[in-house]
């Protein structure tokens, strides 16, 4: 078994440790005895079939808008992959351009790729803060929020994480739903926290890999000695952040 990842726009959307998330997925699969390979799409040519999972990271607004333009002809292909239950993991602005639509600061609304049941509105206010909360299974989840928009979840999507401090799907200080972070809807997973998210929160990496394994029909169990070491360090990094913020 070799898992095939499609990494969308690594150069346009790879601002801040984003590739680290894929490194984590690849390492954890390897530790479980499963091979994987990453193929990239940066706008030239067309997107093929046969992938086990799709990843898109975050970046600058200019990088994201360039990626969105380059994606136009391929959006229907991506929707097709998502409808056939291929797992997608999207972060930050990568998530926003794969949503239904993005409203820009000048009032224009641009259509997203329509993969994720969500839409976003860019706002003037900026969030920049360490954040922590708990995922649906109650695991402490931490990261760094650095964004400037409000994302609305559609079609029964659930937030991936419920935050106790920091900023989630809204960058507004006054937002009521600031605690909702990310999206989970069957094979679709999205989040905004940096960290990188999956390095600091291996429970989310394993949750995503479990979705990939179920869809592609292989078994994934993470019981390696390597993961035990890395996960113990990540747990201390999370605890340090929470304890410091909760003080």
């Amino acid at each position: 078994m070799s898992v095939r990842f499609l990494h969308l726009f690594p150069s346009q959307l790879g601002l801040n440790g984003e590739a680290g998330n894929l490194d984590v997925l690849v390492a954890r699969l390897k530790w479980a005895g499963i091979d994987s390979k990453i193929e990239t799409f940066d706008g030239s040519g067309s997107i093929a079939s046969g992938y086990d999972a799709v990843f898109i990271g975050s970046g600058t607004l200019a990088g994201a808008l360039e990626a969105l333009e380059l994606l136009e002809a391929q959006a229907s292909k991506l929707r097709e992959l998502a409808e056939s239950k291929i797992p997608f993991l999207a972060l930050g602005l990568g998530w926003e351009i794969l949503g239904e639509s993005m409203e820009l600061l000048d009032g224009r609304t641009v259509a997203g790729a329509g993969v994720f049941p969500s839409r976003s509105q860019r706002i003037a206010e900026r969030a920049s803060a360490e954040s922590y909360g708990y995922d649906q299974a109650g695991n402490l989840t931490t990261g760094y929020a650095n964004h400037s928009s409000e994302i609305e979840l559609l079609n029964d999507s659930q937030p991936l994480i419920s935050l106790e401090a920091g900023f989630g799907n809204s960058s507004r200080q006054s937002a009521k739903q600031r605690s909702d972070e990310g999206l989970l809807n069957q094979n679709l997973m999205a989040a905004r926290l940096n960290g990188p998210l999956l390095a600091l929160n291996p429970h989310l990496a394993d949750q995503f890999l479990a979705i990939v394994a179920r869809n592609s029909g292989f078994s994934y169990r993470q019981i390696s000695a390597e993961a035990k070491v890395a996960d113990a360090y990540a747990a201390k990094a999370r605890a340090e952040l929470r304890d410091r913020l909760a003080r």
């Binding site: 440790g17 920049s128 390597e226």
Partner: protein, 421 residues
């Protein structure tokens, strides 16, 4: 009259502040209440005015290189010690050097200016020249996106009365150069050969959504090549070799920027040979490769600020087999970028300390690197690290963020933090 009174008051407060220890901006703040035009009346009166040096990285190095290059041409140079970005901090430095009549014995001033402070400083002092080093992926928690820094530096450059000098290998700065219509712009060109040896994206943040840009900005001094800390620079076809403050193309670019602004100021009387000799004998800027002696052991301090500077640091690290100590605290609010760096030059790590220690340990464990010790407490880490160096006779290498560098220097008893003594 008001100026001399302001300088006198400032000097008196400075003496008191020094006795009490700290408060370096206070003399400037008070003097500028007495004379709000303190900076323009002192620095602004200099023959060649004030040079602002700004950009994401290399500001301190370039400021010291510009000062060195101009001094090599016989000019008297006033410069601010690193860190004094605020008008009041610069005011304090001016008061320290000014005569009681308020005049400075200098022909030109060189100021290191934080990316966000060009606009803050401009109402107090208009730059004659602005030198821009680069725009990198840097302090995203504060600047959010490199594009925002483009706007800040463009605004600062727009204030220049005589000219702007940019690093022409940075697409962001080329864009700024092309947007400046009222002020002459010159660029440092870097040869394809020199650029090809450097990891992609290591020098500047990528620029999106601009397509192909035609860059016909006039050239000044250019970078032909950099090999092991020696640069070959060229001006009008005449080449000169310079021993740089350290290894790496970024040092060659910073030096070429310094020579370029000197060349723009002095015109045909600029002597590149004299500038090259002066820079070749200049000492390493504090915090970038400096070796400290502490309790009989040698520790090289290498600062890591952002992915670009970290890559440059790793390239210039002389002995990858040295005992490495990594120290980072929440002064780096979002350390995600440590996952973007090729750490293959690091073999094993002796010590990781401070509040980001667990973050680093996570990263290194994904790379399969061995970690001898994780010690969140800096004081404890220093004691244990030094005792290890003593027992093995090894030299140490400390990779650290700015905040931990200051904290650890203080623990070592280097109290005069600004001069690095």
């Amino acid at each position: 009259m008001r100026l001399s009174f302001a300088v006198l008051v400032g000097k008196l407060i400075r003496i008191v502040a020094k006795l009490r220890g700290g408060g370096s901006a206070i003399p400037g703040r008070i003097a500028m209440i007495v004379e709000p035009k303190l900076l323009s009346k002192t620095l602004g009166a200099l023959k060649h005015g004030v040079i602002f040096v700004s950009g994401s990285n290399g500001k301190s190095t370039t400021t010291s290189l510009v000062a060195g290059a101009l001094a090599s041409q016989g000019l008297k140079v006033f410069s601010n010690p690193s860190g004094g970005n605020m008008p009041q901090g610069i005011g304090s430095a001016v008061i320290g050097k000014a005569s009681l009549s308020g005049s400075l014995d200098a022909d030109v001033a060189v100021l290191e200016v934080d990316e966000a402070y060009g606009e803050v400083l401009a109402p107090f002092i208009t730059p004659s020249w602005v030198v821009l080093t680069n725009i990198q992926i840097d302090q995203l928690n504060r600047f959010f996106e490199p594009d925002r820094v483009v706007g800040m530096l463009l605004a600062a450059a727009n204030h220049a009365t005589n000219g702007v000098v940019i690093n022409g290998s940075d697409a962001n700065l080329v864009d700024i150069g092309l947007m400046l219509s009222d002020v002459p712009v010159a660029q440092v060109k870097v040869s394809e050969k020199a650029l090809a040896k450097w990891p992609a994206g290591a020098l500047a943040a990528p620029r999106f959504g601009k397509g192909q840009v035609i860059n016909e900005i006039p050239e000044s001094v250019s970078v032909v090549d950099e090999v092991d800390g020696v640069a070959t620079l060229s001006l009008g076809g005449v080449k000169s070799e310079v021993k740089l403050p350290g290894k790496g193309l970024h040092f060659a670019i910073d030096t070429a920027l310094a020579f370029s602004v000197a060349e723009r100021i002095l015109g045909s009387s600029f002597d590149m040979q004299a500038a090259s000799s002066a820079i070749s004998s200049q000492q390493t800027v504090y915090g970038r490769g400096e070796i400290v002696n502490y309790q009989g052991v040698e520790i090289q301090i290498l600062m890591m600020k952002n992915p670009s500077s970290m890559r440059a640091t790793l390239v210039s690290m002389e002995d990858p087999q040295t005992a490495i100590w990594i120290a980072m605290d929440e002064g780096t609010p979002d350390p995600s970028w440590i996952f973007d760096i090729d750490l293959s030059r690091i073999g094993s790590v002796r010590m990781i300390s401070s509040s980001r220690a667990w973050h680093w340990a996570t990263r290194l464990s994904y790379l399969g690197k061995s970690i001898e010790q994780v010690q969140p407490d800096s004081k404890q880490a220093l004691a244990e690290y030094v005792s290890f160096l003593k027992s093995t006779g090894k030299r140490g290498t400390l990779l650290t963020n700015y905040e931990q560098m200051m904290a650890i220097r203080k623990l070592m008893g280097f109290l005069d933090l600004e001069s690095g003594k």
